[in-house]
């Protein structure tokens, strides 16, 4: 055992620190004492290839390398061996002279070709199956589906519309509803004894113009007017006071609501309880007149 401590970094070695002077000697001895010895360091370096090295140990390793080029080389060589070992398989044919038996080679080709044929057949089937669901076809299916849905919706709409038209065309409903309305003595939105004023109000507020009122009705005293809605149609109501003090109700709607009604000369009369109604139409409007009286009275009011 030499008296002098073992020199981990003799002069002439390529480590960063060698015992070139007093200061370096002290430093080399200090580092040698406070970092793992090389025997331990090579174990640590080997372990570091399999699990991460703690930070403190990484620092010690770096400090140790200052005095020990051999450990540094050792680590570089471990990494180099790993790199070459990973590449070994791809160069295995250069590493030995072992010959593949012809029988084995023939068998591999046979098995691999058969497997490849099966795989190709399979992928062709998949391709054919896939084609059935590929985009253009899918788009065509979607288009068909959309068309069907649209057709169903359109048919439904037409049916609903037809029902609506039928409802609109039902004069009975209109008559019943208007009489019910008249019975409650409805509130009038515009009160005036001036017929032209009422007509102007209807024309300006609800675009109801061109209303033709029978002459005999015109001669009565107007009370007022208002509008109401019946199955989506605007209906104007003009009230007149009869000589007996009771009201005459004249309901006016657009012609399209009841397109099949006859002209005034052939008005349809219908009694409902004590109420008598007459319905007719001109080019623009449909009219329904209701009074609490009988048909002759109503007929006389409509006569020219």
């Amino acid at each position: 055992m030499p008296e002098e401590p073992y020199n981990p970094s003799p002069i002439g070695n390529p480590s960063v620190l060698a015992r070139r002077n007093w200061w370096q000697t002290k430093l080399v001895i200090f580092i040698g004492k406070h970092t793992p010895k090389c025997r331990e360091m090579v174990r640590i370096l080997s372990k570091s290839l399999d699990e991460p090295m703690p930070l403190a140990m990484r620092i010690k390793k770096r400090i140790h390398y200052l005095i020990c080029c051999w450990c540094q080389r050792y680590e570089e060589q471990l990494l180099y061996m790993r790199k070459t070992a990973r590449a070994f398989a791809e160069h295995a044919d250069e590493s030995s002279n072992a010959v593949v038996p012809d029988e084995a080679k023939g068998r591999w080709k046979e098995v691999v070709s058969a497997s490849a044929r099966v795989m190709q057949g399979w992928s062709e089937k998949m391709e054919i199956a896939g084609r059935k669901f590929e985009r253009p076809h899918l788009m065509w299916t979607r288009a068909l589906l959309l068309t069907t849905i649209t057709a169903i919706v359109a048919v439904g709409f037409v049916i609903a519309w037809t029902n609506l038209v039928r409802q609109k065309a039902s004069l009975t409903d209109f008559r019943d509803e208007m009489i019910s309305f008249a019975k409650v003595d409805p509130t009038l939105e515009m009160r005036s004894s001036d017929l032209s004023e009422l007509m102007t109000w209807l024309a300006t507020t609800h675009a109801m113009s061109g209303i033709t009122i029978p002459e005999k009705v015109k001669s009565m005293e107007p009370v007022g007017c208002r509008t109401l809605r019946f199955r989506g149609n605007d209906v104007g109501l003009i009230c007149f006071r009869r000589s007996n003090g009771r009201r005459l109700h004249l309901f006016v709607a657009d012609r399209s609501a009841f397109p099949r009604l006859p002209s005034r000369n052939y008005a349809e009369f219908l009694a409902q309880g004590e109420w008598m109604t007459a319905a007719w139409a001109d080019r623009e409007h449909t009219y329904l007149m209701a009074i609490q009286s009988d048909q002759p009275v109503l007929q006389s009011l409509l006569s020219l």
């Binding site: 981990p8 070992a85 084995a104």
Partner: protein
């Protein structure tokens, strides 16, 4: 670039890479029949997975990757237990490399390897030297080393596969690395025809 027809490609694999795969498999399992079966399984797996081969690596790297997995599976099936006779055999082999206080013996420390790594890899003699050096390792130690360093199997998995502890694995790997390094240095890098040439 379009992929060639699968059947044609598969037949080319056998011609172009069969030898390489077989030699690697034989080196690993040391049994001709098993090596042949592993290579065949590799080709079959490659046929099945050809669609997924994106051409990012070379065809040979891809096939070698599959073969490595097959080899690990083979060892897994064997479920072998490792005795430590071999480790004990290696235990003191490199004690002369260090002086008693634990530092490198200056005359016997690692020499500088001047070889340019990429150049070495293109020399078939290097791979022969490496195979010979690996062959000198005791079988079980070599199995552990090749699994870790060639197949890149994680340490934990090797421990589970071979029923050994972490510390045993590290000891075996350390001894194997040290032995292989020493062997490569003596037989390749220190030789005139080797890396130092």
């Amino acid at each position: 670039m379009n992929k060639p027809d699968l059947q044609t490609a598969a037949e080319h694999w056998v011609d172009d890479h069969g030898e390489c795969l077989y030699r690697f498999a034989l080196m690993r399992v040391r049994n001709q029949d098993v090596a042949e079966d592993l290579v065949q399984d590799t080709f079959l797996a490659a046929v099945r997975g050809y669609e997924k081969f994106g051409g990012r690596s070379s065809e040979r790297s891809w096939l070698c990757g599959i073969l490595k997995n097959k080899i690990v599976d083979h060892f897994r099936k064997l479920g072998r237990e490792t005795s430590f006779t071999d480790v004990e055999f290696l235990s003191d082999e490199f004690s002369e490399k260090f002086v008693s206080v634990g530092f490198w013996n200056h005359d016997k420390g690692p020499h500088e390897w001047k070889a340019e790594a990429d150049q070495v890899m293109h020399r078939s003699e290097f791979w022969q030297t490496m195979r010979d050096c690996l062959a000198k390792l005791p079988q079980k130690v070599r199995d552990v080393f090749t699994m870790r360093e060639m197949d890149d199997v994680p340490s934990k998995e090797i421990c589970a596969l071979l029923s050994i502890t972490d510390s045993n694995l590290w000891v075996m790997l350390h001894r194997a690395r040290m032995a292989l390094r020493e062997c490569l240095e003596m037989n390749w890098f220190d030789q005139p025809a080797g890396g130092n040439a």
